[in-house]
């Protein structure tokens, strides 16, 4: 066991995948010589050379399109989009090309490409460098979407994403890069599509992913002191999400809260809530409650951003509401 930072875990995942498979290449803006805007690709150039660790011009649409062509040619490209906000410029390649190639060509090819990108606020980076756009991609048949919450899962899921035969949008949280966790030296590769129950509980289930997991864990800690037992499920993969694990938990707790940093409206939480209201209807003893950002762009000023981002207190309030106790105690 040793301390492992989220960013270092991602770096190790890239290095291990590249060492194992000569077809894995890494591309992006400032990822080779400079080691990436958040340092995730540091050292890869020296180890694997400029043929496989490729600095690109500032051309997101073509980076993503080239990844599609490279994957058709047998490579496994992992490309970094510096901020998730810039993934808007990759949309044709991701949505019209990568997501559909297998389907529209009758299963002739699979495209093992990974778009790595950081989302999330907390850095006063403002409206164009802070968004959480994962729901956009999760809405597109043919794409997979992953968002790890800690170092070990960052490693395991990135390895899983690179090994996956289909296009994966791998979402990292900027606020987590420098955080560290105790992690085993021998990190496991994690398959996509499997959630993790991080904390067992009887009274309510909180489903979350990425940095929001830590809000949920803090809320669960707080409520434990009052005798409320909260189960926390780290979704890990957003598309395809692990419906079976969520439903099984709901069948134990009968209360459901979904938390993410992305805007609440039309988000990942909406999909999970709608699905559980359908297949889990008989298990529900209260309303499904979502916690997400308000329907507005991410503001720049520290105070505004703090008010914008979901908090552990909001998660506590949501759990109380799901338990029908919203008026019994102050949020």
């Amino acid at each position: 066991m040793a301390d492992l930072r989220y960013g270092a875990a991602l770096n190790r995942a890239l290095a291990d995948a590249m060492a194992e498979d000569g077809d894995v290449i890494v591309m992006g803006e400032d990822i080779a010589g400079a080691g990436g805007s958040f340092g995730v690709t540091r050292g890869l150039l020296d180890r694997f050379g400029a043929g496989r660790v490729i600095d690109t011009p500032i051309s997101e649409a073509t980076i993503a399109g080239a990844a599609v062509g490279a994957a058709m040619g047998g490579l496994k490209p992992v490309f970094e989009i510096m901020f998730m906000d810039f993934a808007t410029l990759t949309m044709d390649a991701m949505v019209n090309q990568a997501a559909k190639a297998r389907f529209m060509f009758g299963g002739q090819c699979s495209l093992p490409i990974v778009l790595r990108t950081p989302h999330g606020g907390g850095l006063s980076a403002g409206p164009q460098h802070s968004q959480c756009l994962e729901a956009w991609f999760a809405h597109v048949p043919g794409l997979k979407v992953v968002c790890p919450s800690d170092a070990a899962s960052a490693y395991g899921l990135l390895r899983g994403a690179i090994a996956d035969p289909d296009p994966v949008v791998f979402v990292e949280h900027k606020g987590l890069y420098a955080r560290k966790w105790d992690a085993p030296d021998d990190l496991a590769v994690l398959p996509l599509g499997q959630a993790a129950v991080l904390r067992d509980g009887r009274d309510a289930t909180v489903v979350c992913y990425g940095a929001a997991v830590h809000l949920a864990l803090a809320a669960a800690d707080g409520l434990a002191a009052e005798g409320t037992s909260v189960e926390v499920i780290d979704l890990r993969t957003i598309q395809p999400w692990d419906e079976a694990t969520v439903l099984a938990s709901l069948a134990r707790t009968h209360r459901l809260v979904i938390v993410h940093e992305a805007v609440e409206a039309f988000g990942v939480g909406a999909e999970i809530a709608a699905r559980m209201a359908d297949v889990g209807f008989d298990e529900l003893d209260g309303p499904i409650v979502r916690v997400g950002a308000p329907f507005m762009p991410v503001p720049f000023a520290k105070g505004l951003e703090a008010a914008y981002q979901p908090s552990a207190a909001q998660v506590v309030a949501a759990i109380r509401k799901a338990m029908g106790r919203e008026f019994s105690q102050e949020a």
Binding site: P57, G65, N96, Q97, F103, M104, F105, G107, P141
Partner: protein, 328 residues
């Protein structure tokens, strides 16, 4: 499946070119008819008048060289060697289609012959060809990638990004601009501010202009361009000036178009004139055309006999089958 296999244009090698031109022309004429009869659904964009570009360029490519195509991609697919049966079955939306009836005209692809797909998105094939070239280089295949695009696509951002990146990395990619003068319903001259050769030069990409309606001229220019690309000095742009004889799509009333575009220089007529000058008999040309027609008849008959595209099979191909299964 007959395909123009590297014939040399000088000594009598023009016949395979002629056959390939006939194949594309007759396939598209048949598709136009099948579309009018309601047997081909959706949108089809015919490249009648532009066949020499496909035949000439493909004559200097091998099966493992890759191409990324456009919405007007039948000629590219056929010249690259897509099997006729799978091609017609696809356009007739049948289960036996090369893409299982999920792609159709605008998304027809055959990875086995290096045809990475027609594309419904203008310009989108260009970065795909660039990535394919990157794969050729990284994997040391020695093959090249070819990117076909229209003159209207020159206004798309990815074209400019891709020229920069391909030149910067000296990738083995041949850019082929099919300059038919039209960008959907507008003359390209009203959409593009720059001269192609000067523009290309700004990226350090050599530009070779050619009469895109003369298959021999295209083949010769392509041969030189491809030799440069294979030599590893980076991308080359082949500008093929050509003619879109039909509307933008079948059913286009073309009210925007006047009759004074000048004589369409028909690639088939040009090839025939060359062949006659070489002393090839009229009967030999007719025999080639008849043989091609018979093959198309057989392919259409087979396509009609194929069942409808399968929804279950389509649903199963959204993701690659895994232990975990697909998304819900």
């Amino acid at each position: 499946m007959a395909k123009a296999q590297k014939p040399t244009s000088n000594h009598g090698g023009l016949l395979p070119f002629y056959e390939a031109l006939q194949l594309i022309r007759q396939c598209e004429e048949r598709l136009g008819q099948l579309f009018a009869d309601g047997e081909v659904p959706g949108f089809i964009h015919l490249g009648i008048g532009q066949e020499a570009v496909s035949v000439g360029v493909m004559s200097v490519l091998g099966t493992q060289d890759t191409i990324a195509s456009t919405h007007r991609g039948h000629g590219h697919a056929l010249a690259k060697g897509i099997p006729l049966d799978g091609f017609f079955a696809e356009l007739l939306a049948r289960a036996d289609g090369v893409c299982g009836g999920r792609g159709g005209s605008m998304h027809v692809a055959d990875m086995r012959v290096g045809m990475l797909g027609a594309n419904g998105i203008v310009g989108a094939g260009v970065p795909i060809a660039l990535g394919s070239a990157l794969a050729h280089r990284n994997r040391g295949t020695g093959h090249i990638a070819v990117s076909f695009f229209g003159d209207g696509a020159l206004a798309e951002g990815v074209l400019h990004e891709s020229f920069n990146m391909a030149a910067l990395w000296k990738l083995p990619v041949l850019f082929v601009c099919e300059a038919n003068g039209w960008s959907e319903f507008s003359p390209s001259a009203r959409q593009i501010a720059f001269d192609l050769e000067a523009w290309s030069a700004a990226y350090g990409v050599p530009c070779v202009g050619v009469d895109g309606n003369d298959v021999v001229a295209v083949a010769e220019a392509a041969e030189k361009a491809v030799a440069l690309v294979r030599g590893g000095t980076g991308p080359v742009l082949l500008e093929c000036r050509t003619t879109r004889v039909r509307g933008h799509f079948e059913g286009d009333a073309q009210k925007y178009r006047t009759a004074d575009e000048g004589d369409a220089r028909d690639p088939i007529a040009i090839a025939e004139a060359r062949l006659r000058a070489q002393g090839i008999a009229e009967s030999e040309l007719a025999a080639i055309a008849d043989e091609v027609r018979a093959r198309i008849d057989a392919a259409v008959t087979k396509a009609r006999a194929s069942g409808p595209a399968s929804f279950a099979a389509a649903r199963a191909d959204v993701y690659t089958p895994l232990v975990l299964g697909e998304a819900c």
